[in-house]
């Protein structure tokens, strides 16, 4: 547990010292969403109709893009090799790094979401559920993405590769995240969808650190 905190604090400190990091992810999120009014045309009805989907897709892409570096810098400068050789269980390392990542990128993303919903003309009735769904969904994205981030260590073209592996696995989160918001907007109960999202979160919390640790371990065997 103290190790979890030590690693978490160090990663948070690295992120704060590097200043712009979490801001950058939010800005990507915003820009990606803003592209759509240009692409689809400015009609409010259409935009409102696709708002939840666009916001979720942009969140997926932002999460994936920021995850590329989750282990990469540590791998390149040799920190990961040393980290793997500490008397610390690797699952704890993965969990701490994912937590730090979510705190610095997932949270700001959630904070920015209502703003984008306004931009896209989404009905205000869906805001609360959108935030709740993002709060339940983005940690899953970070956890799933951590596996991919561990697998691409040492590969050529990590970024594109990561998207190929991770985006298909993100789809369940996308489906239930969007349907929760759509249900709320359509006047149905969003609870079942949110429950499924929670279930996905529990499953990824339980599984992903282990798989991620296994992936890290094999990345260091060479």
């Amino acid at each position: 547990m103290t190790n979890f905190v030590t690693i978490l604090r160090r990663d948070l400190r690295l992120s704060f010292r590097q200043g712009m990091d979490s801001l950058m992810v939010v800005m990507f999120f915003v820009i990606a969403v803003v592209l759509f009014p240009f692409g689809v045309g400015p009609e409010p009805n259409i935009l409102a109709r696709i708002a939840a989907g666009v916001i979720w897709v942009a969140a997926l892409l932002a999460s994936m893009l920021s995850l590329e570096r989750l282990f990469q810098t540590d791998y390149e400068d040799g920190s990961l090799e040393i980290l793997v050789l500490q008397p610390v269980s690797l699952e704890v390392v993965v969990a701490a790094k994912v937590t730090a990542h979510w705190l610095t990128t997932g949270l700001p993303l959630i904070a920015a979401a209502p703003l984008l919903a306004v931009l896209l003309n989404m009905d205000a009735g869906g805001f609360a559920i959108l935030i709740l769904a993002l709060a339940l969904g983005t940690p899953s994205l970070s956890l799933i993405g951590a596996i991919g981030a561990a697998l691409i260590l040492g590969a050529r073209r990590g970024g594109v590769l990561l998207s190929l592996m991770v985006l298909p696995l993100y789809i369940p989160v996308l489906i239930f995240g969007v349907s929760a918001v759509d249900a709320a907007l359509g006047g149905f109960a969003a609870r079942p969808h949110l429950l499924i999202l929670s279930g996905l979160l529990l499953a990824t919390v339980a599984l992903c650190p282990w798989v991620g640790a296994a992936a890290l371990r094999q990345a260091m065997r060479s």
């Binding site: 596996i147 590969a155 065997r221």
Partner: protein, 256 residues
């Protein structure tokens, strides 16, 4: 101890014996299957002649799932027992599986246009097969993305295992969600609910595809073994060059 380090002669001998049989079976079963599928089976009372697409669509879809299962099994073997042939088998399986998945998608689309009036719908069965296709491609891309092939094999093996959850999703998608797509009628509890005149070509084609799989798999594994050997020889050359340059240097040093 030596053959623990991947001396594949035994496997190659076995492959030599199986390969002609696999090739022969592919041709014979495939020929017979085509004959039944195109000439001697009746048109469906509902679907008309388009039912003939079933004889290639369904076996392709089965093979897509079968190949992924085989891929995952090979990857698990490689990760747990570290058998070097398992890595090669996985590498060789992936492109075959990807091709069958592509065929399932293409033939399904060509069947969907006359049956459902559209090339594509976003229902659970169809999209989960599309995701299966992406998983195959992701596996192959990750496998080839490293300068050291051993790293690529380990990393992509983990990906293949993680992606395996998609297989039950495909299988049961028609039961869990109501979709346009047909539920299972051949492989299900209580025996097949399909007329024998259609079952014959279907099974013939299915076995022909299996035989084709074995045939091409053995060919590709041969190639992968060669690639492994080429790499070993290359590394040896590099090492030998290092050693001889050291010897030569020492010799000239003495001469001086």
């Amino acid at each position: 101890m030596i053959h623990r380090f991947a001396n594949p002669t035994r496997f190659l001998r076995l492959a030599d014996r199986i390969q002609p049989w696999a090739a022969g079976l592919t041709v014979v079963l495939g020929g017979a299957g085509l004959y039944f599928a195109l000439f001697s089976s009746p048109a469906d009372y509902q679907q008309g002649e388009t039912v003939r697409i079933m004889y290639i669509h369904v076996p392709s879809a089965w093979m897509a799932l079968f190949c992924y299962t085989a891929l995952a099994a090979a990857c698990a073997t490689a990760l747990i027992w570290k058998h070097p042939l398992a890595d090669l088998a996985a590498r060789a399986t992936a492109p075959i599986g990807a091709c069958f998945t592509l065929l399932a998608l293409a033939t399904g689309s060509l069947w969907g246009k006359p049956m459902w009036g559209t090339w594509w719908v976003w229902d659970a069965r169809l999209t989960s097969v599309l995701i299966l296709f992406f998983l195959y491609l992701g596996y192959m891309a990750l496998n080839g993305a490293f300068d050291d092939p051993e790293r690529g094999q380990k990393a992509s093996a983990i990906l293949a295992l993680v992606g395996f959850i998609n297989v039950p999703i495909i299988k049961f998608s028609v039961d869990w969600w109501n979709t346009l797509h047909q539920p299972a009628s051949v492989i299900k509890m209580g025996g097949p609910a399909i007329h024998p005149s259609m079952l014959t070509p279907l099974l013939l084609m299915a076995f022909a595809f299996k035989a084709y799989f074995v045939w091409v798999l053995l060919m590709r594994m041969r190639g992968e073994i060669n690639a492994m050997k080429i790499r070993a020889v290359r590394l040896r050359q590099v090492h030998a060059a290092e050693a001889t340059s050291a010897d030569a240097g020492a010799a000239t040093g003495e001469a001086r």
